[in-house]
Symmetry: C2
């Protein structure tokens, strides 16, 4: 197999981190299929996620490891990790028991683009918890 074939069709997990050392990770609800959030992992975050079964990311704003739920308690138990063809993106199939978005929604994707507009959103979800309580703000 060529190097490319090996990445695309082989059985070796060879995650491709970008020029900042990060890989995109999508957290998807293992039961409903709802996409909950998108975040980034460095090699250490990925290793910790695999080792502990708790989703751990790298916060680009805080520039440090971020165990999901460390502040809010809203953790993600990882059931399965999938990789895509060129291994530069991961899906984490996760079990959760509380809203996953820091704004208070179950998913970060709580707004859609309104039909026949290019700049107007509408809400598609209701808040499921109070972030002020969860984050103690």
């Amino acid at each position: 197999m060529s190097a490319n074939e090996n990445i695309e069709q082989g059985l070796g997990f060879i995650p491709k981190f970008d020029d900042k050392g990060l890989i995109t990770a999508i957290a998807q609800d293992a039961d409903s299929g709802q996409i909950l959030m998108v975040a980034y992992m460095n090699a250490e975050a990925l290793a910790l996620t695999i080792e502990t079964g708790n989703a751990t990311y790298f916060s680009r704003s805080r520039k440090k490891l971020w165990k999901k739920g460390e502040q809010s308690g809203h953790t993600q138990k990882v059931q399965q990790i999938l990789t895509d063809c060129d291994q530069d993106c991961l899906i984490l199939k996760v079990k959760t028991d509380q809203g996953q978005c820091h704004v208070g929604y179950n998913s970060c994707f709580y707004r859609k683009l309104s039909k026949n507009t290019k700049d107007t959103l509408e809400f598609v979800a209701e808040k499921v918890y109070d972030p002020k309580q969860a984050y103690g703000k």
Copy 2:
């Protein structure tokens, strides 16, 4: 509202492109919820997607606009566009009628990390078309 509140809780669609002028876009099957692929859009690709209803990306490898299916015929009809809290990631809910991954699978995510390993994949899907035929290689 503060600028941040406006982005997170407002009704204005203000997509945040990264330092390369790109935003991450996840194509998700509108019916099954399966995540099909992850790609990137520049402002022009996003505008074309909204305008035409056909998913159009920016190919990072070819450095040009890429109307999904332009070579393979395996297009994506966009039913809905969702944005996340900080508006730096999009979900396209799409209708498709053919496999979406250039390797021949319905989804690019056709392999999972094997249980209790950190470096070994296993296949979770079967090919649904012959890429040699679709791409004329």
